[in-house]
Amino acid sequence: MSRTLTGVAASPGLAAAPGVRWDAGEGVAVEPAPDIQTAARRVQDDLRRRATEAPTSEGRTVLEALSLFAGDPELLASAEAAARQGVSLPDAVRAASGHYAEQLRALGGYLAERAEDVLDVGARIVAALEGRHVAEIPNPGHPYVLVARDLAPADTALLDPTVVVALVTEQGGPTSHTAILARSLGLPAVVACAGARDAADGHALVVDGDLGEVHIDPPTAVVEALTARAERQRRRTTAVTGPGMTKDSVPVALLANVGGARDAAAAAESGAEGIGLFRTEFLFLGRTDEPSLDEQVEAYADVLAHFVGRRVVVRTLDGGSDKPLPFLELGAEENPALGVRGLRTETVRPGVLERQLTALSAAVVRTGCDAWVMAPMVSTTTEARWFASMVRGRGLPTAGVMIEVPAAALRAGDLLPEVDFASLGTNDLGQYTMAADRQCGDLGTLLDPWQPALLDLVAMTCAAGKAHGRPVGVCGEAAADPLLGAVLVGLGVSSLSMAAPALAAVRATLRDVDLATCAEAARLARSAPTAAEARNAASALLLGA
């Protein structure tokens, strides 16, 4: 009997193959390792052996890096120090790997992607201490759809993309490791798909990574219609070039998210019209002292130089919470996502922001770049006004705010007149709207960017932007989903910023729909009671257009 499961679309595309269930954490029991060093050595040996068996050179590189992480002297020393203070061995390893993962995450770009790898290595050392041996990816001898609870970096490094043609996981959100990996390999993926392991194992599957659907034993007509649609999209994506615009020539700036000069160079080559989110944390990470003014000027100028004459939206230092910056000495917090982070760090460590703005101003003068400067984690009109006056006081003409706190979206009509532009950070706005931790794999469905409540807040912000003549953009993962991108444009967003590889598909989708259709798709999505119904209603209209 045919049926369809709905999850969260994590990587676009379509693939058909039998489903194979895989239970990663449920490997065989082995003798528990007596201490951290022994456990780490066991993990390191295992990863080295897997590296020699990896089907792709990318996989081998990942596994070799993981084996180095497993033997890292500072990681192990830090875990052993915690253990000496009475922390249990597994908790000591988790704390140490968590610390290094956070440090890498705060650097952004390539290094942020390694954060998951460190956590994976930590989990493997914990498994060795607890006497579990981690199972390996199945190899049934034919192409298949891998169906799992969730996937860790060392698991996915063994994936052969010619054998595993799509990924379906029960956990994980659109920003999870599985999603990021699937996008980089070009594999369709659906995450947060409840019940997938039981329902899909051994059945014929069609995975629809555009709509977030998994069709189980579908009728031939459905397979043919889906295949035709996928082929049409593939041809369009490679054929459409140039600036972002709708079918009726309404411009939508397609911008890139970058975390440093290397990202900026890649973004400039990929045809980004500018930078919609320049994360400045990379320079501050792991520092016990604040970078000097000269060092900051150099680093900012290196990034700005790639986009002279184009828009670069710079986000001021976003420390605290998941991006601890040692020199700020903020200390531990019970609930860091709701703590002293983003713009709020300036209230406890005054002067850091002022110096950053001074350095930015000098970098702008040197490069002649059109820099727009915005603050993260703005909640009130008072904060927006204070930030804007500080930015303008440093000779930087364009000041803005991130809209990522529901309060800021609800009162956008008061905030926006104080600034020149706003950028919606849909990842954090989703987390705070749904009260769902972004790092929590069990809450993927709540973090679905199609949640109508999140779309409502986007709409309120855009309405305020229109009323006051202030452009509103989106710089969260939502912007990288071509169908959702069209809905955001329909809600009134004038720029979409994303990881550079996602630009082509968004550009092609927008070019096929006019603004009125985007607006109608947005209306349908907001009228829906659930995220899945919102996506279905909007997608049916947009894909039929």
């Binding site: 500072e74 990681l75 390539y110 290094l111 440093g260």
Partner: protein
């Protein structure tokens, strides 16, 4: 304590493969070596996680320091390594 200042030649900076090669070489010297960005805190040069955490970009200067027997020879070897574009090595 002997130290050397060197400019990182690798195009990607001290990330990925260059960082792995560097930390393995630092560990192989058998001498405790530290690495710091100019004006920054020194970290264990044999620790890949610490080295990645510095976020050293291409063309940036770093300071290597070591102490004890063989410190100078160890530093000279590592300086030579960082002065090479490690991305280009072994590329086929």
């Amino acid at each position: 304590m002997p130290s050397r200042t060197v400019t990182v030649a690798s195009r990607v900076g001290l990330h990925a493969r260059p960082a792995a090669l560097f930390t393995q070489a630092a560990a192989a010297t058998g001498v405790p070596v530290t690495i710091a960005k100019s004006g920054g805190a020194a970290v264990n040069a044999a620790s890949i996680l610490s080295v990645l955490g510095l976020g050293v970009g291409s063309g940036e200067e770093v300071v290597l320091s070591a102490d004890g027997d063989g410190a100078d020879a160890a530093l000279d070897g590592l300086v030579a390594l960082l002065s090479t574009d490690l991305d280009a090595v072994d590329e086929v």
